[in-house]
Amino acid sequence: MGGGRAAQDLHLSARSSTEGARVSRLTRLLESEKALAAALLAPGVAILVVFIAYPFVMALWYSLTSIRVGDAGHFVGLDNFAKAVDDTIFQQAFKNTVFYTFWATIFKLSLGMWLALLLNRHFRFKRVVRASMLLPFIIPTVLSAFAWRWMFDPTFSVMNWMLYHGGMITDRLPFLSSGDWAMWCAVLVNTWRGMPFFAITLLAGLQTISPDLHEAAALDGAGAWHRFWHVTWPLLLPVTLVVVVFSVIQTFSDFQLIYVLTGGGPANSTHLIATYAYQIGVASGLLGEGAALSLFMFPVLFAVVWVQLRYLKRMEAA
């Protein structure tokens, strides 16, 4: 019994001493900047390689094959891309994506700027108001898009109810049942969701502008509009550019808002690239064609990112 215990102790101490040696070797290794950097970067980089870089290469490969669910397919060259270019629904989806991104960004920027200027003043309950203004950005888009869909409901729309009883309309508005209307409704909901992001980020930029500049301009006789245009706007331009880049990427690749609000309808008139790629790639199981469709987003996103990187470089140089 006692002998066994002693043997165990011996065994334990032997193990802990080799472990000690191993630990100190590891510690010594981690004192080298290069080794430590490699160790610290490894987990994050591994996840990004496995779940972003690798799928990106796979997306490129898929887009060149006729792969579908349950069928590995074969190499077809650029057929999937050629087919997409000839597909009238895809042409519509591409136009819609550009339209949606352009107008939503314009509205988000102008309304967000206005809201930021309002929030930059001193008033009672400022903190509560500012916090509640961000709610559309916090609440899951799918859930709030359902609230909008309910508000746009053809038969039970609260907005038709208010407008009708307010004497503004005599017939109901076809919010989501007409293609043109539905596209503008999607722009409206996207603006509603993204405006707070612009407002709060621009507000952070506004707060760094010294009030002295405004007072000096006011003393020189500049009106509010002039002060905005010649003092605030130029100073805010760097922040604005970055926010616009982020927003364009998010809007151009949007999926969930349209998926819930219209599902691409009526009659495919509100599809975006992403929702159409989902329909082809997942709902119809044509993986190769779907992958090719999503890759149509890439040149636009790449251009935007390139502008952003160039801008960052210039900022660093300055």
Binding site: A37, F56, V129, L135, T141, A147, T201, V243, F246, Y278
Partner: protein, 283 residues
């Protein structure tokens, strides 16, 4: 000189501010009213006169109870919570390590890696969901929470890394040097000196990452097939519309309850969230 007259303040400030507040909050108000309204009041057509159009005279819990009893809503809440917490934790650890390495350590290719991580930050989920679904299936992760716990970090790690890298750079180097003179290892100095000082930044990144995971939709839609593995957004979309029929009362009850956890977390940490949000675009 900058003092305004009263009517001007109303026209230029109170009126637009009120319009912004109504525009921003009305959908949430309508979501809440709908969730507690009986069906008889809910399905009154737009032309019909209505005793309580923007309010309800007979509040009811039938939709909430129906949601809890006839659907797997509590399970979806639990799934979403677990996935958001785990993916946030993974991303924070990876982001803290990578951010520290990029901010403080000198090594070849650090600039390239920083740029590469920044670019992955800008890759949208909708670009990669088709091949990623196959990868997830090949790794035997399909229809398990790990499919999302491991893929959500792809958009959270780049963000956490950039935010924390910026934060670490503002911490004076002397702090670490003192600890190193006292005999701490590099790793030890990072964990015991730098990380505690960076807690506000870590909190900002964590809150922001949590709300982003709670919000994610397309990966969860594509990777999760059975009702008991879904997250709240996917469950609400796929299980509360039966055939062509929308159960609006239950849908809005689900939307409301599904928003509560993320709204609560946000309301406790508004300032940190705002720092994360504004920091996320500074680069």
């Amino acid at each position: 000189m900058l003092i305004e007259r009263k009517w001007k303040k109303w026209l230029y400030f109170y009126l637009p501010m009120a319009a912004f507040i109504v525009f921003t909050l009305f959908p949430f108000y309508w979501m809440a009213v709908t969730a507690f309204r009986p069906d008889a009041e809910l399905y009154a057509t737009w032309r019909q006169p209505n005793a309580a159009p923007l309010w309800t005279l007979h509040p009811t819990f039938e939709h909430v109870i129906g949601l809890m009893k006839t659907t797997a809503f509590p399970t979806w809440m639990w799934n979403t919570m677990a996935i958001a917490i785990v993916s946030t934790a993974i991303s924070l650890v990876c982001g803290m390590f990578a951010g520290y390495a990029l901010a403080r350590l000198k090594f070849r290719g650090s600039e390239f890696l920083g740029t590469a991580i920044f670019i992955t930050y800008l890759v949208p989920q909708t670009l990669l969901f088709i091949p990623l679904a196959d990868i997830v299936r090949d790794l035997r992760l399909g229809n398990t929470p790990w499919a999302l716990m491991l893929t959500y970090p792809t958009f959270l790690i780049p963000f956490c890394t950039w935010l924390l890298m910026g934060y670490f750079k503002t911490i004076p180097k002397e702090l670490e040097e003192c600890a190193r003179i006292d005999g701490a290892t590099r790793f030890g100095a990072m964990v015991r000196i730098i990380f505690p000082v960076a807690i506000p930044g870590i909190l900002s990144a964590g809150i922001f990452a949590f709300t982003l995971s709670w919000n994610e939709f397309i990966y969860a839609l594509v990777f999760m097939a059975s009702a008991d593995t879904k997250t709240v957004p996917v469950g609400v979309v796929s299980e509360l519309i039966r055939g062509d029929i929308f159960f609006w009362g239950q849908l809005m009850a689900g939307a409301l309850l599904g928003s509560v956890p993320v709204a609560l977390v946000y309301s406790f940490f508004v300032e940190y969230y705002v720092t994360g949000l504004t920091g996320s675009v500074k680069g």
